[in-house]
Each structure stands twice: as C-alpha cells, then as structure tokens.
Symmetry: C2
Subunit: 148 residues, 2 copies
Amino acid sequence: MKYFEDFAVGEREQFGSYSVTAEEVAEFAGKYDPQPFHLSDEAAAKTHFGRIAASGWHTCSMTMAMLVAHMKDDALASRGAAGIDELRWLKPVYPGDTLRCETAVLELRPSRSRPDIGSVRSEMKVYNQNDEAVMRFVSIALIARRTD
Amino acid sequence: MKYFEDFAVGEREQFGSYSVTAEEVAEFAGKYDPQPFHLSDEAAAKTHFGRIAASGWHTCSMTMAMLVAHMKDDALASRGAAGIDELRWLKPVYPGDTLRCETAVLELRPSRSRPDIGSVRSEMKVYNQNDEAVMRFVSIALIARRTD
C-alpha cells in the first residue's frame, strides 16, 4: 500500500490509455452537458470546436478513470480529494482520440486538522494521441498516513 | 439571446434542483471513479465519508447539468469554457441529497486573441437541502459577443 510518506516532491508518472468513443461522448453530454457543440457536428461547426467535442467535465471524468485504474495498480491509500486548482481545457477532445496522463508531485503537506492524512498536490497533464496537451490541472489529493 | 455584453460584475443568480440518486451515484462511480468509498457503505464507513458519497467529478457533472438547463432558460451564447479555478469539495454529497446552485459574476474580460468572444469569471457555489455548501469553484466561461 502506498501511503502519504511514500510520496516525494518531483516524482513523475506516466500512465493510462483511454479511447474516446462517439457513443460515450454523446451519452455523457446528453446527461450532464447538453450544449449543442457537444451533441451535433453542425452546431459544433459554427464554433471553434469544428466538430462534436467531449464535455470538459467528461474529459475530467475519463482522466479520473485512468487515475483510479493506476491507483489500483499501486494500491494507493486514497482518502478522496480536497479540490482542484488551475484546471484548463487546452484543446478540444474529439471522438476517436486516445488520452493518456502525466503527473508530477508538486508539494506534500501533513494535515493539521486530521493527523491520519496528508495532502499531495500534483500536476496532472492529459495528452491526446498527437502528444498535444488537452487538459491540465493541479489536484489536491488526500492520502492516509502510515500508522505503524 | 444573452451575450457577453449583457453580463454585469456582481450579478447573482440562484437556480437548479438536482436529486442525487443511489443508482446514478453507483453508475457514475462504477464508470469513472470506482474508489471503494464511492461504491460500498462498508468501505465508506472506514473513511470520513461515513457512507457512500458521490464522486467529486459527479458533483461537478450534476452541477453542469443544472447550469446548462439554466442557460437554456436564458438562451446563453455559450462558446464553452477555458477552465476552472479554486475547485473545492467542501462536504460529501450523498444519495438522497438535493443540490442547487448560486452564482456571482466576478470579472468580465474581452478576449485579446478572439474578438468574437469574452470570458466571464464567476463563482459557483453548490448547496445541499440543508443549505450546506458542498462545492465551490470559479469558472471561466467563454461567451459570444454581440456582432450587431
């Protein structure tokens, strides 16, 4: 199990491969973000998207799916997250794209109010198959501390 | 149609009502955030969540659904969003909760690179049925400018 004490500032990881399908883009957008440019190529053609693009929140959710799969490989002692800073949707994500993740640990901070956890501040960058960065954010993850 | 020019700093709105169901929490978590405390009451009982709580990204997505429904009422000339700052998951969101939104316009900025749009920086606060703030973020929305 990977605990708060096992993280190091500057640590980098690359992981994940997520195929963005037209069906999933339509399903997510229909439920949570039914703006025309996420649902119709004709409407998207009138915007900078050009054609149907995934909801930015869908990109966040697909990124989380890659992260949780990776955390399972590492058996991370996750206790949720406090939040996200500086989230930027840098390029549209299109059906047919394949996404991957790169992370770097920026800062480690033991919790003052909850001695059983610490917060790990990391940069997340998501790239498409052309190595274009499509999204960036800084996450504040809560990780259990070793008790032994 | 509501354009960039129709926004005013300090403008506040309240809208939305979203019933969080156990089925939807399980479906979203299973697909995008299958951490034990989003899937099992027993696993959640070992964490500060206490019982199954919605994924934070699910809370973002439900918030977006309320926002898009509200934008349709207003016929907002949305062109997507640049990003999100200072996102904080303040309290767990549980199945059975009912969420609502409060927004305040913080800043208006015409785009330098794209004269057809402007960015609207707004605070979003999401409350549950007990008027507890469960999430807060600052959004940077891209809104079309009037062409006439």
